[in-house]
Subunit: 458 residues, 2 copies
Amino acid sequence: MSIQSAIAALQPLFGDRLSTGDSVRDQYGRNEAWYPVTPPDAVIWPETTEEVATIAQTCNEHGCPIVAWGAGTSLEGHIVPVQGGITLSFDRMNKVLDVHQEDMDAVVQPGVTRRQLNEDLRATGLFFPIDPGADASIGGMAATRASGTCAVRYGTMRESVLALEVVMADGRIIRTGSRARKSSNGYDLTKLFVGSEGTLGIITEVTVRLHGQPEAMSAAICAFDDIEGAVNTVIQTIQMSIPVARIELVDPTSIRAMNAYSKYEMKEGPHLFVEFHGTEAGVAEQAEIVGEICAENGGADFEWASKAEDRNRLWRARHDFYYAIKAMCPGRTGYNTDSCVPISRLADCVMESMEDAQRSGLVTTMVGHAGDGNFHMGYMVDPDNPAEIDEAKRLGERLSERTIAMGGTVSGEHGIGIGKRKFMAEEHGEDAWALMGQIKQTFDPNGILNPGKVVPGN
Amino acid sequence: MSIQSAIAALQPLFGDRLSTGDSVRDQYGRNEAWYPVTPPDAVIWPETTEEVATIAQTCNEHGCPIVAWGAGTSLEGHIVPVQGGITLSFDRMNKVLDVHQEDMDAVVQPGVTRRQLNEDLRATGLFFPIDPGADASIGGMAATRASGTCAVRYGTMRESVLALEVVMADGRIIRTGSRARKSSNGYDLTKLFVGSEGTLGIITEVTVRLHGQPEAMSAAICAFDDIEGAVNTVIQTIQMSIPVARIELVDPTSIRAMNAYSKYEMKEGPHLFVEFHGTEAGVAEQAEIVGEICAENGGADFEWASKAEDRNRLWRARHDFYYAIKAMCPGRTGYNTDSCVPISRLADCVMESMEDAQRSGLVTTMVGHAGDGNFHMGYMVDPDNPAEIDEAKRLGERLSERTIAMGGTVSGEHGIGIGKRKFMAEEHGEDAWALMGQIKQTFDPNGILNPGKVVPGN
């Protein structure tokens, strides 16, 4: 009954699709956050749901932890095997299984990435709008309830996942939800697995909603004198129910990094990046109204990117922001926060948090999916300097407390992983967090599924 | 340890807010479906969350069932106390506690009805769009994951509930979710309670999303030669991503009933009722496109209701449909179905089901929130005629099997209650349904919360 006995039992079944080699383990022990390299004891590349079920059943019998791994882009250490065990890489379960064009949905394996799905959809007139910065896997995005720049219009993975196939801890394979657009048929197991970060089951198939490619799109950037004017523009736009497709807040430091990395020449001030989707007339009308709101709040230089290549370049720069900031601060890693507050508190929360960060002396960035009330501060720390990490942690803790006090959540879209577990009791209350622990215990009594994450206990 | 000992323990605490009188029990033993009157042993009217917690704790100790009761409008017998016990009426917990105008949300007690909330919101420029036919309570709507005619645009209670306060079976009070628009912070307890039909906890406070009252609205009815033309119009409208606010399918029998009950003179053929929300220009553009689609599919007489009073009258007639059909068939009760299929299968499912019903000889109606792929057949039965009830059951069972075979759900918005439990294993699979049972066991180990509903077992 051990990790090694589980590996020994699985080795003959998977051959060279099971590796215990140091370089592979090291690769799967890395993470995009600031956690030290923590290699698993083995990595397996399953090719079918049945193989995943066999792995789960074997690991359950041997008490061996399993960590599901999509594209490794998580920012909260979800994929760090803190108790060792087997990392399950979905590299080979990366097929788009079905696109139902009339019903506007797609069925994919968990290793399919968001860009891969959109490539596949190109000829259909449909697209998948959920876009975290990195080219994340759809299985991982479902598991972390990811979102991105388009959530203000199209929702998050919470709204996008219609149905799942899940392997339970004991190897049973279940299906949740259906391709029907709504349902009041029993407990919403789909929504329970979405965001459970691999702790309740292993997602082996995802059915996602798609949307029609809009007839017309238009994007613009607008510079502001101060952050407050930009935030107030966002608030007024949302309150007027303008169906803006994207409305992103970017601080001056981030603009500087993007200018360097993505070859832009934007003015080094706070910016909004906005995008409109709709009919030709609808897009023009939305743009006009938002343009007026910008001007009333001190926005200037409303620069349009109407051509597809200009728009793509703009959003590519926004999505590459994290790499841009790392390039600007060599050797440093972002300690990233993920607050989401009711929109009436957005200006207060952003302003207080930026002032707090400025006092620390750390290079700090702030970008936000401001239409959702969600923003990310990034404190750039030297991972080998404990004093800086401690300072970032203190800033992050104060931000989390401020966020909770304002009625928000400390995780808008990055999930809990390792980093946010310490705020769970404060945000949810001891009893509600304990209830999550009871659900975990019911689904995974031996605690083999991504242990050390989300719920109370080890 | 019994129902009577629980009532005896609670009597001194609630005085005349606890009733065991026959007429009260009879009133709370009735239901809007075709189930026989089944009175609870007592009815209590709590006024605070703490009182609900006391009731739960006492009932948990004594093994006494609790059924939460909002407005009693459920169509699947959710409120029928099949194992006796105490019915908890939320008549006195009916206050709108807070409206956050800037954040576009409201916090309400469970007994607030949807019309009451919208009255309260009238001056704010906001509205609550979820509209089941009856003037249901928001607590009940959350508990059954209700929707209505506007779901195609604004989603269902699944998308509308941001946060809850819930009393657990043992009397603990928890809060789930927050007023932030999105969150990836742990298991989605909110979505787990939404649709759990009072079997996992008792909802004592609901925070719902609101929407801006559109600048312009326009509604129309359109008669078609056949159902197929109407359904194809719906499918094409959705596939073109027209953001239609409502698109309702009504069959000729239902039109006849509405004409009589609501004093209309609509042609006795299949109809679509549509509504557009947006800016003046946007509404005009949507209406033009949908008008063209209608014409291509044999629709004629696109009659406009642009004035508010005409629109309200139209939707009132649609919402009163169930009363209209009961008035047309005195002494009969509707055996109602609630299929929701992927939209590509909607025409097939509707046509096959109508043909099947026509062979039965029962008066049958069909109305549908067709934009979601959701439609309701109503078989009008004499509740004292077992042969007719059996015939309706057979029709409903064949419809359910047809729906599941087409990848849909047997409950689009009415919930499971008593009536749909027999299809759960078929739709979800034995293992997934068993998992729902395990969740129930974890949350309510003594089985006091609305027993006999949703999950396997008694």
